[in-house]
C-alpha cells in the first residue's frame, strides 16, 4: 500500500539530505519523493510516498517530525488529497501505418505532444499515479514503440472543503 506524506520544511540548504538520510537509516521504503517551492518562499513542500500501511506512515511522520527544520508532517488520506504526477515518454515514429494510427489516437485522446522531429515524438501526461499507470500500460500494449519514459513522483495538496 502507498501512503502519501505531505511535509512542510524550512527552505534551508541540506534539508533534503537530512530527510533522505533519515528515511534510509530507519529502513523506510520510499516510492517517490518530490520537493519544490511553495507560495511562501521561506518554506518548501515535500511529498513523500512510502510503501507500507498506515502504521508505517505514522512511524515515518513521527521520525520526520524530529528533524528541526520540518514544520509539519501530514499523512494524506486519498479521499482528502488532490494528487498529480507527470510522465514524459519518447515514442519512435515509423512508417508503419498501424502505428501511425495509434499515435494519432494517443494524440487525440490526450493532447499531449510536446516535441516532435522526423524520428520521434515526445508526449507528456499529467494525471494521478493510477491514470499514468493506465496510460503507460496502454501504450506498451499498442504498436507504438516506447523508447523511454520517466515519471516525476507525486505532488499532493489538500482538497478544498465543500
Amino acid at each position: 500500500m502507498k501512503q502519501i506524506l505531505s511535509v512542510v520544511v524550512q527552505n534551508n540548504a541540506g534539508i533534503l539530505s537530512r530527510v533522505a538520510s533519515l528515511l534510509r537509516r530507519k529502513c523506510f521504503n520510499i516510492d517517490s519523493l518530490t520537493v519544490g517551492r511553495t507560495s511562501d518562499n521561506t518554506i518548501s513542500r515535500m511529498t513523500i510516498v512510502i510503501l507500507g500501511d498506515r502504521k508505517e506512515a505514522e512511524k515515518v511522520a513521527l521520525q520526520l517530525d524530529k528533524l528541526i527544520e520540518i514544520q509539519s508532517v501530514e499523512i494524506m488520506a486519498p479521499e482528502t488529497a488532490i494528487t498529480r504526477e507527470i510522465a514524459i515518454a519518447r515514442l519512435g515514429i515509423h512508417t508503419n501505418a498501424e502505428e501511425k494510427k495509434c499515435l494519432k489516437e494517443v494524440d487525440k485522446i490526450f493532447h499531449t505532444e510536446i516535441y516532435r522531429n522526423e524520428e520521434e515524438v515526445c508526449v507528456e501526461l499529467i494525471d494521478t499515479a493510477q491514470g499514468l499507470d493506465h496510460f503507460l500500460d496502454k501504450m506498451k500494449k499498442s504498436d507504438i514503440e516506447v523508447r523511454e519514459w520517466i515519471r516525476s513522483g507525486i505532488i499532493a495538496i489538500k482538497k478544498p472543503k465543500n
Partner: protein, 569 residues
C-alpha cells in the same frame, strides 16, 4: 570584531565556563582570541577525549558541555563522542572549524563534510555561512541541545567565517547579551504534551495484578525524582530501572527491585518477564532490557511515558501513551490514579518479589584473592554520598551498575546506548568540573583507549580518581567466548603495560594493589588525595558476571550462573 569574537562572546553569554578543545589550522582564529574571553580552555590530548569530557560535564550537571576541534581529522575524532551523546540524549555543543569557504567542496587539505558525517548522530547541525549569523546559531544550538529530548548539536564554521568582520550593530547586541530571535518554526515543544490516554492508562494500572515500573534516563533528565516518589507512594508498584535510571529512586526502598536487563538483577528480570502491566517512564525499550521485543510485549499491557513521541511503539507495542516531560505527565497520572487505586491489590505480587529478592542476592565477594566485585564493594563503602562514578564498558561496568544503586541521580555515568570503551576517563574529566568527588572506573582494555588524557588531568590538575581493574583480559568479550565459543580466547588476553608506572610517567601519584588489604588501604589514600590519583588493582583473571540474559533470549531465561535459570511464575 570578527567571527571568532562573535562565537566566543556568544558562548560566554550562554554561561559557558570551560571548553574542552584541541587546536589546529582551521580553528586558529578562534584560539587567537580565546585568551581575551572568560572561558577556560581544557587542552585534551585527543579530540575524542574532548567530546567525552564535554558530555561528561553535561551528564553530571544538566548544563551544556562544549567541545571544539579543527577540521578534517580533528572533526572526525569527535565523532564517537558525538554519537555517544546522541544515543544517550546528552545535551552537548560540538564546534568544528572547516577550511576557507572558497575551498569547501574542493577536497582541500583537511576538508571533511563533518555535517554529512554526523547527520545521523546529531539532534541538529549548522554550517555557518556568515559571521553575523553566529550569535543566533549559538543561541539556537544551546536551546536545541538542552530542551525537549536533549542531544548534541554540531556547529561547523569555515575559517573564512571566523575571520570575517562582524556587523557593528550585531556586535553591539552580542556585547549587551541581547536576545537573538530564533528561526526555528519547526521546533515547537508546546505541542508535545498529550494526556489523552490518561483514563486508559489509569484503568490499565488499576486493573493490573502484577504491575512493574521501569525507570529510565528521562526521569533523570527531566529531574522528576520527586514526582516519581509520589507516584510510587500512591501506587505501591514494584520498580526497576535501566542503566541510566540508576539514582532516580532510592535503591533501598521496599519497592526497589534493582537494575533490569541483560545483567540486571534476577528479581527485576523475573518481575518484568512475568508482569501483566509495564509502566515505562522515560525509557526507550532498548534491546538490552527487552531481550526479544515480541516476547517482551506478550501477555502484558504497556504504558509509556516519554518526551519523544517517536518512541511510542518504536520497539514494543504499547497500549497507552503519555507524551511530555516526565515531571509534567507523571504527576497527572498520579493524580488520576489516587482517586481509584487500591494499594493492597498488588500485595501478593509485592510479597512474591520480596521473597525473590531474598532468594537471589547479588554475588558477594567470597574470594580470598582480589576480585573486581571485591574492589567495587570496597569502593562503594567509602565514596561520598554525592560522588560521581564514571565507568567504561565491560564486566566492571555491569558489576558497578549492579552494586552502586545508591548513587544519586546523574552520578553514575556510563556510555549506555553506544557502549563505548574509552568513555570513563575523559567523561570523568568533564564531570569533575561539577565539583563532586569523581571516580573513574575502567578495565585494562578500556583505559588504554583514552589513556593519553592522563596528561590533561595533570596539566589542569583535574581531581579524577582513576581505578583500573586489571584482569589481563577484555573481560566481557572473554566471558562470551567462555560461555558461547568454547573458551576460544581469540584476542582477548591482554599484554598490558605496568599501569602504575604509566601513571607515574605522566606525573600522577599511582599505586598498585594485589590483595584485599592493599586495596582497602589504597582506596583510603585515593579518597584523601586532592589531585588526580591512580591505582591499578590486579584482580582475578576469569571472574564471570551474572545474572546474564544470553543474547537473543528472553528475560525469563536469565541465568543466575552458568547452569541455573531464574524461576517461572
Amino acid at each position: 570584531m570578527i567571527g571568532a569574537d562573535a562565537l566566543l562572546k556568544s558562548l560566554e553569554n550562554q554561561g559557558v565556563k570551560q571548553i574542552f578543545a584541541y587546536p589546529g589550522g582551521a580553528v586558529l582564529p578562534i584560539y587567537d582570541r580565546m585568551p581575551t574571553y572568560g572561558i577556560k580552555r581544557i587542552l585534551t590530548r585527543h579530540e575524542q577525549g574532548a567530546a567525552f569530557a564535554a558530555a561528561g560535564y553535561s551528564r553530571a550537571t544538566t548544563e551544556v558541555g562544549v567541545c571544539l576541534a579543527t577540521s578534517g581529522p580533528g572533526a572526525t575524532n569527535l565523532v564517537t563522542g558525538i554519537a555517544d551523546a546522541y544515543m544517550d540524549s546528552v545535551p552537548m555543543v560540538a564546534i568544528t572549524g572547516n577550511v576557507f569557504g572558497h575551498l569547501i567542496g574542493t577536497d582541500a587539505f583537511q576538508e571533511i563534510d563533518i555535517i554529512g558525517v554526523c547527520e545521523p548522530i546529531v539532534k541538529h547541525s549548522y554550517f555557518v555561512e556568515n559571521a553575523d549569523d553566529l550569535p543566533r546559531i549559538i543561541s539556537e544550538a544551546f536551546h536545541l541541545a538542552l530542551s525537549g529530548r536533549p542531544g548534541p548539536v554540531l556547529i561547523d564554521i569555515p575559517k573564512s567565517v571566523q575571520i570575517e568582520e562582524v556587523d557593528e550593530e550585531v556586535w553591539k547586541n552580542i556585547e549587551l547579551n541581547n536576545n537573538f530571535e530564533h528561526n526555528l518554526p519547526g521546533y515547537d515543544l508546546t505541542t508535545i504534551l498529550d494526556l489523552s490516554d490518561i483514563d486508559l492508562a489509569t484503568d490499565i494500572i488499576t486493573e493490573a495484578q502484577r504491575p512493574v515500573v521501569i525507570l529510565g534516563h528521562g526521569v533523570c533528565l527531566s529531574q522528576a525524582e520527586t514526582a516519581l516518589k509520589q507516584f510510587l507512594e500512591t501506587t505501591q508498584i514494584p520498580t526497576t530501572w535501566t542503566l541510566h535510571g540508576i539514582g532516580c529512586f532510592p535503591y533501598n526502598h521496599e519497592l526497589a527491585l534493582g537494575m533490569l536487563g541483560m545483567h540486571g538483577t534476577a528479581t527485576a528480570n523475573f518481575a518484568v518477564a512475568n508482569a501483566d502491566c509495564i509502566i515505562g517512564i522515560g525509557i526507550r525499550f532498548d534491546d538490552r532490557i527487552t531481550g526479544i521485543p515480541a516476547e517482551f510485549e506478550k501477555r502484558k499491557k504497556i504504558i509509556h511515558l516519554d518526551i519523544d513521541p517517536a518512541e511510542f511503539g518504536k520497539n514494543v507495542k504499547i497500549d497507552a501513551k503519555l507524551a511530555g516531560q516526565i515531571n509534567e505527565t507523571l504527576p497527572k497520572l498520579t493524580e488520576s490514579l489516587s482517586r481509584k487505586i487500591a494499594q493492597n491489590r498488588t500485595k501478593e505480587w509485592r510479597e512474591k518479589l520480596q521473597i525473590k529478592l531474598k532468594k537471589w542476592p547479588l554475588d558477594t565477594d567470597k574470594d580470598q584473592k582480589l576480585t573486581e566485585i571485591g574492589v567495587l564493594n570496597k569502593l562503594y563503602k567509602i565514596i561520598d554520598q554525592e560522588a560521581i562514578v564514571t565507568v567504561d564498558v565491560g564486566q566492571h561496568e555491569m558489576w558497578a551498575a549492579q552494586r552502586f544503586p545508591g548513587l544519586a541521580a546523574r552520578k553514575f555515568l556510563a556510555s549506555g546506548g553506544l557502549g563505548t570503551m574509552g568513555f570513563s576517563l575523559p567523561s570523568a574529566m568533564g564531570a569533575a568540573f561539577a565539583g563532586y568527588e569523581t571516580w573513574s572506573v575502567s578495565g585494562d582494555g578500556g583505559i588504554q583507549m583514552n589513556i593519553q588524557e592522563f596528561a590533561t588531568l595533570v596539566q589542569d590538575n583535574i581531581p579524577v580518581k582513576i581505578i583500573i581493574l586489571n584482569n589481563s583480559f577484555l573481560g566481557m568479550v572473554r566471558q562470551w567466548q567462555e560461555l558461547f565459543y568454547d573458551k576460544n580466547y581469540v584476542d582477548t588476553p591482554m599484554h598490558n603495560p605496568d599501569f602504575q608506572k604509566v601513571g607515574e610517567a605522566y606525573g600522577i601519584p599511582s599505586y598498585k594493589a594485589t590483595t584485599h588489604e592493599e586495596a582497602e588501604m589504597v582506596l583510603q589514600k585515593m579518597k584523601k588525595h586532592t589531585g588526580p590519583v591512580l591505582c591499578e588493582f590486579v584482580v582475578e583473571k576469569e571472574e564471570n558476571l551474572f545474572p546474564m540474559v544470553p543474547a537473543g533470549k528472553h528475560l525469563s531465561e536469565t541465568l543466575l550462573n552458568p547452569t541455573d535459570k531464574i524461576d517461572t511464575l
